[in-house]
Subunit: 416 residues, 2 copies
């Protein structure tokens, strides 16, 4: 059963059909599938137009992947979906189509297993899914946040820090071989141990180039202090700025998890030239689900780039019960990670989401020319008046900042 994080007396009401424990909604594993199976086709078409947007004037195209890949997905029980975003033909530029893969997964072993066995089991579980991405011709693959461990930050126990690794540690080495084999850029979000700076822990995405080389890293900029997300206990705000990585397949950036709630974080990656921003996440049921597509799609629209969102799957049970700062009894789980990985395009359209309760691979073709086309169409960057906001923020961060407030003089009179 999902742990409920919202406050208030009404909490019990949350035990709707969604809290059945398997992460399904009324027996369906995604909103898209529930709507498609229960609405008349012309209603579904119109609902989709309003909810996910038309792309180039029609529903998003699906891609046929190799049959071997489908076979693997059935054998290993992971959700497999594939879609294509087009762009208008241009006269002076060729199309720049990139195939992006996103992997979401649950942890295979109990959190009571030996740490070494847990990590190995995750590697082993991911292998066929990464192979499936490679066999699908994926150019850029991204895994979920801290994918090489359970999301143990709810416990506040420091022993989980043992999972942390240097940027060139065993997890990176494991992925480098796949990057080389499949000529594939891989983004690997890990818990990082910074040996050269006194063993400091970071929440980091390692970017592995398509030749198996390490291009660089980015450290999570914004750290949550909400519900069971006790991450500020484990690591601090990142010190790597907002790097954009120029890869063989396009300019990419990584906005890790909670950073998606910060429009300025999305903005800065855009100002540095990102064409695809990945958002590897770990987030649970009632806390964030209604925000999940809203924030991703808004970022894609406002910044004229693609956003690729990944969330882990399943409920992770920890050995020692912990409290959640809500006055309720201790309990051993974080709630249900609801998967639902998806891609948002700058034209306000988006793919359906992967399953809420199963591992999954989402493959998406995107013509990166769409980014500039949307910039030219809407002109958001041009009309943004950044000079005004540079001043506003410089003013705001001063301790003696006073807001621009215009009070009703009659109100003042009344108060006196």
């Amino acid at each position: 059963m999902e742990k409920k994080i919202q406050n208030g007396e009404e909490e019990e009401e949350l035990k709707g059909p969604s809290s059945s424990g398997d992460g399904s909604i009324c027996g369906y594993d995604s909103l898209h599938r529930l709507l498609k199976d229960n609405l008349k086709p012309h209603h579904f078409q119109e609902v989709s137009r309003l909810l996910t947007g038309l792309h180039c004037g029609k529903a998003l195209e699906t891609i046929d992947l190799p049959e071997s890949v489908s076979t693997v997905s059935v054998k290993h029980g992971f959700d497999l979906q594939a879609f294509r975003f087009h762009a208008d033909k241009e006269l002076l530029r060729e199309p720049r189509v990139v195939r992006v893969g996103l992997i979401q997964n649950s942890i295979p072993l109990p959190t009571t297993a030996h740490f070494s066995d847990q990590k190995k089991a995750i590697f082993k579980k991911l292998e066929p899914i990464i192979d499936a991405a490679g066999a699908s011709g994926v150019n850029i693959l991204c895994l979920q946040e801290a994918w090489m461990m359970p999301f143990a930050f709810c416990t506040r126990e420091k022993r989980w820090c043992e999972f942390a690794e240097p940027v060139d540690g065993e997890t990176t080495k494991f992925l480098q071989s796949f990057a080389l084999k499949y000529n594939m850029v891989i983004i690997s979000p890990i818990l990082e141990r910074d040996i050269n700076h006194g063993e400091v822990i970071w929440n980091t995405a390692v970017v592995i180039g398509n030749h198996g080389n390490i291009i660089g890293k980015h450290r999570k900029n914004h750290i949550p202090r909400v519900g069971d997300f006790n991450e500020s206990t484990y690591y601090m705000e990142g010190n790597t700025g907002h790097p954009v990585f120029e890869t063989a397949f396009g300019k990419i950036a990584i906005n890790i998890c909670y950073g998606r709630h910060h429009p300025l974080n999305w903005l800065a990656f855009g100002l540095n030239g990102a064409e695809i921003v990945f958002n590897p996440s770990a987030t649970v049921g009632e806390l964030s689900e209604p925000m999940w597509t809203i924030e991703a799609r808004n970022a894609a629209i406002a910044n004229s780039y693609f956003v690729a969102s990944i969330n882990r799957v399943g409920t992770e049970i920890f050995p020692n019960p912990f409290t959640s700062g809500d006055g309720k009894p201790a309990h051993p789980d974080f709630g249900h990670f609801y998967g639902s990985s998806h891609v948002s395009a700058p034209d306000a359209s988006c793919t359906p989401s992967l399953s809420r309760n199963r591992d999954g691979l989402l493959v998406t073709d995107m013509d990166l020319n769409l980014c500039r086309q949307l910039k030219d169409k809407w002109g958001f960057r041009m009309t943004s008046r950044y000079d005004l906001y540079a001043e506003t923020l410089a003013h705001y961060v001063k301790p003696d900042f006073e807001p621009q407030l215009i009070s009703d003089p009659l109100l003042r009179k009344k108060s006196l």
Copy 2:
């Protein structure tokens, strides 16, 4: 029939059920009603949880308005809906419940009528709706963008400038009496003529206090250059900053129309302390509809305030055909303004939208204590690292700005 603004060969495909001319979707006048009437109750409940969010753990409460108000809405054929957002009880603060009203409407006379008659007819049409808001006990009422005229900026003809008025002109005078009569703050978005500055035209929201006094004005900060939104032909970017108006019923701000695409604009109103930000708009069908709730809800979530969104209704036909910069023949209309006014809360929930094709009054109770409660819960303001972004923007606006780009060295080698 709706005019299609998107580019590309697929344009004809857009003629779906939505382009039936009456603005309905498959015969329903809102997405909410289509889903409610066509899904099983337990499916609808779960879809609502994911799409509009639960509020305090359950579906949004409706409010019973006086029967006289319902009677007026039936007589005058406008959509009437009313909802309530709660907040948790606090020990040190009393609830601060404010009743907000939003009005959306079509223009009553053809655009060929005498300008004076057009304006009078709009006043006359609005009168019973404003009275209904007053009789419903609305504390703060907001009208749609440039509500006292047709949205003529698609024509590029300067004669429509005749509609512009000073801040204390006849439109403001018309509303002042209602403000006084009903003890109601009224936000009146007009086309402003600034007599004292050489007859300059602005897109302005006038804030009228609950004693009928003018508290102040705000001028639209961001001006579109997209599709038929030729507004930069008529007026320039506003020079009033991001004022928050302290009224008898809370701290409010106005983000006019296209400003909703700019996260920094939303942010600045938040930094200045807004608890409700109104977004009076005029926007059409295929251009923006999938973005409409995304941007509003994201702003409410990211800034921990309420967002009240209004869009005009109907298709306005102009005397002289005009082109749209898409290479297509001239035509006399701007497309269908799809109404769909709604309110978004900082907890990620939102009201259903008003009709896509009829005038409407949306009444919403909101406990403003919810804003600070969400700030305390999520800590977005606290974790925002504004100092970092003040630097980023100061750097970005310099002509010699260079993005933070990390290139794959193997890529460079290959290029050489």
